[in-house]
């Protein structure tokens, strides 16, 4: 692709030179035309290039002595003018197309890079950024960079070539008049630089403010029931107005900068033109200059009018491009915390034993997990239970390497997770998350999300295991029913069942249920567990739940508190110990007794925990 771009860029540059050449020929030709019309052909031919002169000579030969040389000259000039115009048009077309296609291609490349980067950035990154922000960057900022490349890159060169060559020609024609007609250039350059800096910081702030406004609107619409419930429409409108006015102020500043910029550049140009007219006019009056030459200067200037206007736009484009570019590259330059080692190998599963070896984990110096060791063997179930924030979910997230431990290591069949490829690891480990994201697609495609090549019967099988099959078959569209925004909406329990089916599709060697049955009623959960028995008999299962009925059958139950395993053993062993687990059991399984007999002690217990 890059190679492709280079050639396009090269041809684009070639086209620029051709277009500029034709562009600059036009005023020269017009000047000659004026002189010819005034029958000053001698002067005209000096100024204009030799080609016209020789062409006139040869045509005069053809037409013979009888024809009027001035008329012949005019016809020749007209032909050249036409050719120059067509040539300029074609070259400009080519150049513009090259510019746009390079822009499109770069836009495409950036989009793909951005997409890939987002997919690889780890959980800790995604948890910390607002999704709306990432979407804005991927859409608006990529577009900003693309537009910049497309319009600015080649056009800037074009303008430089055009103005540069124009300057040379114009100065070689007549130094004083040339200087006068170019007097606007330094002014425009100064304005452009000054405005670029102002616009840049403005664009940056504006982009940030727009993100903030998006967030305000998005959350308001998402939480509209809360807004209504608290009758907070006024409050919300105030938040909106604040965010909105901030963008308005910045946008107005920007319009102001742009307006003064464009008009000042315009007037600088016009004043230069006045100078040419006045000084050139005086020269003509004095006879030092003929009208054709003056016309050339004026025609030059009117050809430069458009480029000068475009400089104003380009300045804005530069400012915007550098802002959007820096926002975009701040994401593209991130290094994912979790990535394959260069020599990472695919996971080789021999028996499927997962082991935590003295694992610690934490953020910013504070350990949220401390010295966790356990072993999950095929056919066995490990249950994790504990108060919220105790670190249960973190353990679940360490298994597919959503995060890396800071101390200790985790192995599957003796292979450190950090030495194997993420892909092979995540294929082998199925984590059923608490929150289920549904994609706007059919139920079938959602279930088969992790294995879109799977045959129909596998999708059905997985759905049946998750006790979702009956429900799906009862739907009018069956497995082809669309879910999400345009289709049926699933209840919390159904979503979680779909999530289970989705994970089962991968035929993971190791299944982790991260509190993924909270919204499923106990009876259905029981049925799911029964159905999974033959599936889990040669696989290790980890169940995280706060509902004891979900995990009391586990072979080993770990009670986690403040990142440490404080109790471990089977259900009966733990009950016999009479510790935290037993307290929890009392609390959950026998609510009647709790309320009627232990109610006095409940406050004390909670206060202690």
């Amino acid at each position: 692709m890059a190679f492709h771009c280079k050639w396009r860029l090269f041809f684009g540059f070639v086209a620029i030179f051709i277009a500029s050449g034709f562009q600059l020929a036009i005023p020269l030709l017009i000047g000659s035309a004026v002189d010819s019309a005034l029958s000053l052909e001698g002067a005209a031919l000096d100024i204009s290039n030799g080609m016209v002169a020789s062409a006139i000579d040869s045509t005069t030969d053809v037409f013979g002595e009888g024809s009027n040389p001035a008329k012949t000259a005019l016809i020749i000039i007209a032909v050249f003018l036409f050719i120059a115009s067509v040539g300029r048009g074609l070259a400009a077309m080519f150049q513009n197309y090259m510019g746009e296609s390079i822009g499109q291609m770069i836009g495409y490349e950036l989009r793909m890079l951005y997409y890939e980067k987002l997919q690889r950035l780890s959980f800790s990154y995604h948890a910390g950024v607002h999704t709306g922000d990432l979407i804005t960057r991927g859409i608006i900022d990529v577009e900003g960079v693309r537009m910049f490349v497309q319009t600015a890159l080649l056009r800037t060169v074009f303008l430089i070539v055009l103005i540069g060559a124009g300057m040379y020609l114009i100065l070689s024609l007549d130094l004083t008049l040339g200087l006068i007609s170019l007097s606007f250039v330094p002014f425009v350059a100064w304005r452009a630089t000054a405005a670029r800096l102002k616009l840049r910081s403005n664009w940056y702030q504006l982009q940030e403010r727009l993100s903030a406004l998006t967030k305000v609107m998005d959350e308001n619409l998402g939480g509209i029931r809360v807004v209504r419930a608290f009758a907070s429409q006024d409050h919300e409108m105030k938040k909106f107005d604040e965010a909105s006015n901030e963008t308005l102020i910045l946008a107005n500043t920007q319009v102001g900068i742009r307006a003064s910029n464009i008009s000042l550049m315009g007037v600088a140009f016009m004043l230069a033109m006045t100078g040419v007219l006045w000084y050139g006019g005086l020269q003509v009056v004095d006879g030092a200059l003929n009208l054709g030459e003056l016309t050339q200067f004026l025609a030059f200037m009117s050809i430069l009018l458009q480029p000068v206007r475009q400089i104003g736009m380009l300045v804005n484009g530069f400012a915007r491009g550098s802002v959007t570019g820096s926002r975009l590259f701040s994401v593209l330059d991130l290094i994912p915390e979790i990535q394959d080692k260069p020599d990472a190998k695919d996971l080789d599963i021999t028996s499927g034993i997962l082991e935590f070896h003295n694992v610690s984990f934490g953020y910013e110096g504070e350990h949220t997990l401390e010295g966790i060791s356990f072993k999950a063997e095929p056919g066995h179930t490990v249950g994790l239970v504990g108060p919220p924030g105790s670190g249960k979910s973190t353990i679940a997230h360490l298994v597919p390497r959503f995060y890396d431990p800071i101390e200790g290591h985790i192995t599957i069949d003796g292979q450190d997770l950090r030495d194997i490829t993420l892909d092979s690891l995540r294929q082998a480990v199925g984590v059923v998350e608490q929150d289920t994201f549904l994609f706007t697609a059919s139920i079938e495609h959602n279930v088969a999300y992790g294995d879109p090549w799977a045959p129909d019967d596998r999708v059905e099988e997985a759905s049946k295991y998750a006790q979702l099959g009956d429900y799906i078959e009862r739907l009018p569209g069956g497995y082809d029913t669309m879910i999400g925004e345009r289709g049926v909406s699933l209840s919390g329990g159904q979503r979680q069942r779909l999530s289970i089916a989705r994970s089962l599709m991968l035929k993971p060697q190791l299944i982790v249920f991260d509190d993924s049955t909270a919204a499923i009623d106990a009876a259905t959960e029981q049925r799911i567990r029964a159905a999974l028995t033959d599936l889990t008999k040669d696989r290790a299962t980890i169940i995280i739940s706060h509902r004891l009925s979900s995990l009391m059958h586990a072979d080993e139950i770990l009670f986690i508190e403040e990142g440490k395993i404080v109790e471990r053993g089977s259900h009966d062993e733990l009950l016999a110990q009479g510790g935290h687990y037993n307290d929890l059991y009392e609390l959950q399984i026998r609510p009647d007794e709790r309320d009627e007999q232990v109610s006095g002690s409940v406050d004390g217990e909670v206060g202690a925990s």
């Binding site: 036009i26 019309a37 998402g222 005086l282 003509v284 004026l298 025609a299 909670v606």
Partner: protein
């Protein structure tokens, strides 16, 4: 690297993956070029800035006229001051001064048109967005329930921007049009023969444009549609990133995204081909026009029919001649896009506000906190009542639990108290006043709601608890958090109350979010509290906290709870059992147990929560209850 045809990659699309390459109805980007309705309604928003816009239009006209005047002055300089026979210094100076004046006008007008048009357009963008947003705050929840947020956001952003662009374009289009007319007029006035000959090329351009337009439009349309598909795919992947990574679908998604992005690349390139195609055509015609001027004008000058200045003015005019034509046809696209966007915007603004204050609605000041439902019938769809003839009263300070299977009408009952919807028949009274007779604002000051799924906003924990109660102090917030037992965990967070919450409160647990939403309700301090208890089983620890918090929350308030937990239900002063939109049993726990109906049957099944009871058991209980009652 060899080029590959982006579309020839069908082999990498897995059979069970969705890939959408066509537009959906909502992405229709071009409408009619002109819709009187949209324009006339748009004008209402614009009319606020009438004065400014007239100044802008005047500036555009002054700018245009001065732009036309400049070549004419140059012509005068040539013919009057520099004419070969009698060069005149004085005349030259006068002309240059006139020229300077024209430049001055040109400058001021240019500045004003850019500034005013730009600012008014920004202002209107904000106004339109605000109107839509404000409206969304008031439309019925049933509309919000069935509309995707993403779609509304697209209207609040993209469509509004399209109208902004339209306004800018429209004002400048006036300038372009005047410029075109002015140039034509000036040319014909300078020399009608030369003028007409030059203008002869114009029809060619129009004919070419007419042939070109439908193809180009299709290409532009396709580019826009594919681009919005790419954006949609990106957004979905970002939102579902956990599922994507967890199921290691990255490669498949990358390939699918590549197909969409390549498709977009192809479409965009095609569109730019159509775009740049006009360049050589316009230049060719400009060249032709210039050739005509040089030949015919030159002959006329030689023959003495016209002055050389006229010819120069023609050359200067012709350089600017095609700009307005080109931009006028470009505006056509903007126009079409704006009409489609306008329709979508007004579609939102036109969603009727079902629930509006009566003209002289009462502003409830103090109320006693009683609730009464009298003969209430209500539903969402015509002929499908969800609630049938509901009658009950809640005394001030009483806590009532609503119990019943899914779909029995519990949520609808609570929604009516807050007047989220209006009843079909009967009346709902709060503090003795029909909810339809009081202002919604004041009703909101007396009734607050805690929803089943706690929704938290970005911002700190403090801001979330405070929410819209701006006159509450920090002490109030802390006291509320202490009351619901959230203080301890909040203090353990790195920033305490000032800890910023991640999106939707992602950095705290579900139970903790619940507690925050309780604290929010305490700060709101309303007489009546409606609470939809969470169904998802929360960990037992937080559960305990929540149960206690619930009691604190209800202290001194009238409570209406959609209860799922047995503990909550038993703690209520009264239990209302709903089934199929009707009240089948009412009384306190002991009374209902003695009654031996549905409630006692469900209760005796010994599930920790009514929601744990499988459907079939509920059915059995219902049948059994019906059996005993008949």
């Amino acid at each position: 690297m060899a080029t590959r045809d982006p579309l020839d990659r069908s082999h990498i699309i897995p059979p069970k993956a969705s890939i959408r390459l066509g537009p959906t109805q909502d992405e229709e980007v071009f409408g009619e070029a002109f819709s009187g309705q949209v324009v006339s309604r748009f004008i209402k928003y614009v009319s606020k800035y009438k004065v400014l816009l007239w100044v802008a239009i005047t500036s555009v006209l002054v700018f245009t006229v001065s732009s036309i005047a400049i070549p004419l002055i140059v012509r005068n300089v040539y013919d009057e001051a520099l004419a070969a026979g009698s060069p005149d210094r004085g005349k030259l100076t006068t002309m240059v001064i006139v020229f300077l004046v024209a430049v001055g006008f040109n400058f001021v007008a240019n500045y004003l048109q850019e500034l005013i048009v730009g600012r008014v357009a920004e202002r209107i963008l904000v106004d339109m967005r605000r109107a839509m947003y404000d409206h969304l705050q008031r439309v019925s929840l049933s509309f919000m329930d069935k509309t995707e947020i993403g779609k509304l956001m697209a209207r609040l952003q993209g469509d509004v921007a399209a109208l902004q662009e339209f306004l800018q374009t429209a004002v400048f289009a006036i300038g372009d049009f005047v410029l075109l007319i002015g140039i034509i007029g000036a040319m014909v006035w300078l020399d009608w023969r030369l003028g007409l000959m030059t203008l002869a090329v114009v029809p060619t351009l129009f004919i070419i444009r007419i042939i070109w337009l439908p193809y180009a439009r299709r290409a532009f349309l396709r580019a826009r549609v594919t681009s919005s598909i790419v954006s949609g795919a990106l957004a979905e992947n970002i939102n579902g990133i956990r599922a994507v990574q967890g199921l290691s679908r990255e490669h498949v998604n990358y390939d699918l995204f590549d197909i969409r992005a390549s498709d977009n690349l192809k479409a965009a390139n095609r569109a730019s081909k159509f775009g740049v195609m006009m360049l050589p055509i316009v230049d060719t015609l400009t060249g032709a026009a210039m050739s005509i001027i040089v030949i015919m004008g030159g002959f006329f000058v030689l023959g003495g029919t016209i002055e050389v200045g006229v010819m120069v003015a023609f050359v200067l005019f012709v350089q600017r001649f095609f700009d307005p034509i080109r931009s006028l046809t470009m505006h056509y696209n903007v126009l079409q896009r704006a009409m489609a966007s306008g329709e979508r915007i007004f579609e939102v603004i036109d969603v009727p506000v079902d629930i509006a204050d009566k003209p002289h609605a009462l502003d409830l000041d103090e109320i006693d906190g009683s609730i009464s439902f009298k003969d209430v019938t209500f539903g969402y769809l015509p002929d499908q009542p969800i609630l049938k003839n509901i009658n009950f009263e809640v005394k001030p300070g009483e806590t009532v639990a609503l119990v019943g299977p899914t779909g029995s009408g519990k949520t609808s009952t609570t929604a009516l108290v807050h007047r989220f919807y209006d009843v079909w028949e009967g009346s709902v009274k709060v503090g003795g006043h029909d909810v339809r007779d009081v202002t919604q604002d004041s009703l909101g000051r007396h009734v607050s709601m805690v929803l089943q799924e706690p929704f938290l906003f970005s911002g700190t924990i403090y801001e979330n608890i405070l929410y819209s109660k701006e006159d509450a102090t920090r002490e109030d917030v802390v006291a509320a958090a202490q009351a619901v037992g959230a203080h301890e965990f909040i203090m353990k967070l790195p920033g305490g109350y000032d800890t910023p919450l991640e999106q939707r409160g992602g950095n705290i647990s579900l139970g903790q979010r619940q507690l925050i939403s309780f604290a929010r309700a305490i700060v709101a301090d309303t007489k009546i509290l409606v609470l939809d208890e969470a169904t998802a089983s929360i960990d037992s620890y937080t559960e305990m906290l929540i149960q206690q918090a619930l009691n604190r929350l209800m202290e001194g308030r009238t409570g209406m709870v959609i209860a799922h937990r047995l503990a909550t239900i038993r703690g209520a002063d009264r239990i209302i059992v709903l089934q199929d939109g009707e009240i089948i049993e009412m009384g306190n726990h002991d009374e209902l147990m003695t009654l031996g109906g549905m409630y006692s049957r469900l209760y005796s099944m010994n599930y920790a929560s009514f929601d744990d009871i499988p459907d079939e058991l509920i059915q059995q209980a219902t049948q059994a209850a019906n059996g005993t009652s008949t």
